[in-house]
C-alpha cells in the first residue's frame, strides 16, 4: 500500500525499513522455515512411516517450547529498545553492527529459533532411520518423509552456522570485536559468507518439504504410480547436498573473487537439475492418469506453475552477467516470492486441504476451496508478476520511494495484494468453519494409498493399534 504511489503515504522511511525487516524475520524464521516441516512433518511423518510417534517425543515438545520462546522474543524485539530492527532480515554487517535500532533482540530471537530447528531435524533423522515399519525399506518409504529426511540434514548441519554468525554479530556490537566491521579489522563479506552458508540451504528447508507434499498429492489425484520414484527420492538428497554449496550466488556483486563467482554460478546451475527432475516426474506421473480435480490438486498445479517461473527466473539471477543488472532489484523480490510463496505457500495450502479431513475428521466446502485457490492464485500473480517487470526496469528493492516510471507496476501489485488478502479470508473462513461444523469425512476421502489414509480420522493416540507390515511401495495404484 505504501508503494502504490510515489511519495510518503502511510509510513515514514524509517518505519518502512522496520516493516520490511520485521516482515522478513517473522515470515522466514517463524513461518516458512518451520511451516511445512514442523507442522505436517510432525503430524504425518510418523504415520506415513508406520510409527507411533517420533523417536524423542519429549525433545520434540522441548523444541516446541524453544520455538514459542523465540517467537515471543521476536515479537518483543519490535517494541522494546530504540525501535524495531531496520537492517532487513539478512542483518548485513557492518550496518547491523552500527544500527541504533533493536538488532540484538531480533538476532537473539533468530538464534533461539535455530535451536528449535536443530532439535526437530535431529529427531526426524533418528525417527526415519529407526522407526520405519517392518518391511518399509528406504525405497518403500513415501516421498514426503524422504523430503523431510533431506530437510532434516540441512536443519542439523546448517543452522549452527547462522547461530554462531549471529553471536559474532552480537559480540561485535557489544564488545567491539572486529569480525565484520572494516574499521575494526573485520571483513563485511565474511558475514555474508557465514550468513548465506546457512540461509541458502534454509531456502531448501522451506521448499523441499513443499516438493514432498506435491509428490504425495499428484499420485493420489492422478491415481498413478509416481513416475521415477527413486529419481525423486534421490533428487531431494541431491538438492540438499548441492544446495549447501551454492550460497555465493547471493554475493556476486559484493566484491567476492572472480574465481569464487564463476564456481558458485556453475554450482547454482547444477542444483537446477534435481529440481527439474522433480517437475518432469510430476508431469510424467499425471500423463494418462485418471485425474480427479479436487482442491488439493488445484493448489498443487498452482505450485508447479509458480515454482517453474520462480525456478527459471532463478537461473537469470544465478548467471553472473544477468545478475549484475537485476541484483538487489524488485526482480529478486519477485523471484524469491515465486519460490517461497508461490512454491512453499501454495504447497502449504495444498497440504492443508489434502490432510484437513485426516486432521479434523471433517470435510470442507470444495466449491469455496476451489474459489479460494483461484482468488489466491490471481492475487498472487497480480501482486508479484509486475515486480519482475519493474525490477528489470531498474527498481531497487527495499526502497521506500521511487521514480514515477515505476508507478504502474507498483499500483498493479497493490491491487494484487488486496485480491490475495480476500483469497486468504476465504480459506480461513472455509477451513475454520468446516473444522467445527463440516460434514464428517470418510477416513480415506481421496483414495490415497499411503499409511495415513489407512487409519481413522482424526488419527488415534499413537496412530496404530498394530504396527503395519509393509510389503509393497507406497504408490501402487492399480
Amino acid at each position: 500500500m505504501e508503494l502504490a504511489q510515489p511519495g510518503q503515504d502511510f509510513l515514514s522511511a524509517q518505519s518502512y525499513n522496520a516493516v520490511f525487516t520485521v516482515h522478513g524475520v517473522i515470515m522466514i524464521f517463524l513461518v516458512v522455515i518451520p511451516g511445512l516441516a514442523a507442522v505436517f512433518g510432525n503430524l504425518f511423518m510418523p504415520i506415513m512411516i508406520g510409527a507411533r510417534d517420533v523417536s524423542f517425543p519429549k525433545l520434540n515438545l522441548f523444541s516446541f517450547y524453544i520455538y514459542m520462546f523465540g517467537a515471543v522474543l521476536a515479537v518483543i524485539s519490535l517494541f522494546i529498545g530504540k525501535g524495531a530492527p531496520d537492517t532487513g532480515w539478512t542483518f548485513y554487517a557492518p550496518y547491523s553492527t552500527q544500527s541504533g535500532s533493536n538488532v540484538i533482540a531480533a538476532v537473539l530471537a533468530a538464534f533461539v529459533l535455530g535451536f528449535s530447528s536443530i532439535l526437530t531435524g535431529l529427531n526426524f533423522i533418528v525417527t526415519i532411520h529407526r522407526l520405519r515399519a517392518p518391511g518399509m525399506t528406504w525405497f518403500k518409504m513415501p516421498l514426503f518423509p524422504w523430503s523431510l529426511y533431506a530437510t532434516a540434514w540441512i536443519q542439523l548441519l546448517a543452522t549452527p552456522i547462522v547461530g554462531i554468525t549471529l553471536l559474532m554479530l552480537v559480540a561485535e556490537r557489544l564488545f567491539k570485536i572486529g569480525f565484520f566491521d572494516p574499521n575494526l579489522g573485520g571483513d563485511p563479506i565474511l558475514f555474508q559468507h557465514l550468513f548465506w552458508i546457512y540461509s541458502h540451504p534454509a531456502v531448501y528447508v522451506m521448499i523441499l518439504p513443499a516438493m514432498g507434499v506435491i509428490t504425495e498429492i499428484i499420485p493420489t489425484f492422478a491415481k498413478r504410480k509416481v513416475f521415477g520414484y527413486k529419481a525423486i527420492a534421490l533428487s531431494s538428497v541431491a538438492i540438499a547436498a548441492v544446495g549447501y554449496l551454492v550460497w555465493g550466488h547471493h554475493m556476486y556483486t559484493a566484491g567476492m573473487s572472480g574465481t569464487a563467482r564463476w564456481f558458485f554460478s556453475f554450482l547454482t546451475f547444477i542444483v537446477a537439475v534435481p529440481s527439474a527432475i522433480k517437475v518432469f516426474n510430476w508431469i510424467s506421473t499425471m500423463y494418462k492418469g485418471s485425474i480427479s480435480l479436487e482442491p488439493p490438486f488445484y493448489f498443487a498445479m498452482a505450485f508447479i506453475f509458480n515454482f517453474m517461473i520462480g525456478g527459471l527466473t532463478g537461473l537469470i539471477l544465478g548467471s553472473l552477467a544477468t545478475d549484475i543488472h537485476v541484483h538487489d532489484t524488485a526482480f529478486v523480490v519477485a523471484h524469491f516470492h515465486y519460490i517461497i510463496f508461490g512454491g512453499m505457500g501454495f504447497a502449504f495450502l495444498a497440504a492443508l486441504h489434502y490432510w484437513f479431513p485426516k486432521i479434523y475428521g471433517r470435510m470442507y466446502n470444495h466449491k469455496m476451496a476451489n474459489w479460494s485457490c483461484v482468488t489466491i492464485f490471481v492475487g498472487f500473480t497480480v501482486l508479484y508478476f509486475p515486480q519482475f517487470i519493474v525490477g528489470l526496469q531498474g527498481m531497487p528493492r527495499r526502497y521506500f520511494d521511487y521514480l514515477p516510471q515505476f508507478q504502474t507496476g507498483h499500483f498493479i501489485s497493490a491491487i494484487g495484494a488486496f485480491i490475495l488478502g480476500i483469497g486468504f479470508v476465504l480459506v480461513f473462513m472455509n477451513l475454520v468453519r468446516s473444522a467445527k461444523t463440516g460434514k464428517i469425512a470418510e477416513s480415506n476421502p481421496w483414495g490415497g494409498l499411503t499409511l495415513e489414509w489407512q487409519i481413522a480420522s482424526p488419527p488415534t493416540v499413537e496412530n496404530f493399534d498394530e504396527i503395519p507390515v509393509i510389503t509393497e511401495g507406497p504408490y501402487e495404484y492399480k
Binding site: 532411520h129 548441519l157 563479506i189 559468507h193 552458508i197 547436498a241 549447501y244 554449496l245 555465493g248 566484491g255 567476492m256 573473487s257 572472480g258 574465481t259 569464487a260 564456481f263 558458485f264
Partner: protein, 94 residues
Amino acid sequence: MTMNKHHITDYKTYGWVLAILLFLTALTVYITWFDLKALTIAAALVIASVKVTIVLTYFMHLKYDSLVLRLMVAMVFLLIALVFVLTFFDYLFR
C-alpha cells in the same frame, strides 16, 4: 547394531591418544611462528581435523560403531571441507 555391545579401550590406547592430542596442540601453536602465507589457515585446519578424527574414533567410540554412522560422520566432514574450500575460492583469489 546390538545394544549390549561394550568396548573397553585399555588405558595404554587412551594414553597414546592423549599424547598425540597434546603433541598436535603444541604443533598448532608452533607453526604460528612461521609465515605459511596462503597455507596458514589450511595447516591449522588440517591439524585440527586430525585431532577431531582421533577424538571421534577413540574417545567417542566411532571405531566400534556401525558403518552407517561412520559414513554419516564422514559425509559431514566432507561437506564442511567443501564449504571451507569454496569459501577460500573467494579469499585466496580476491
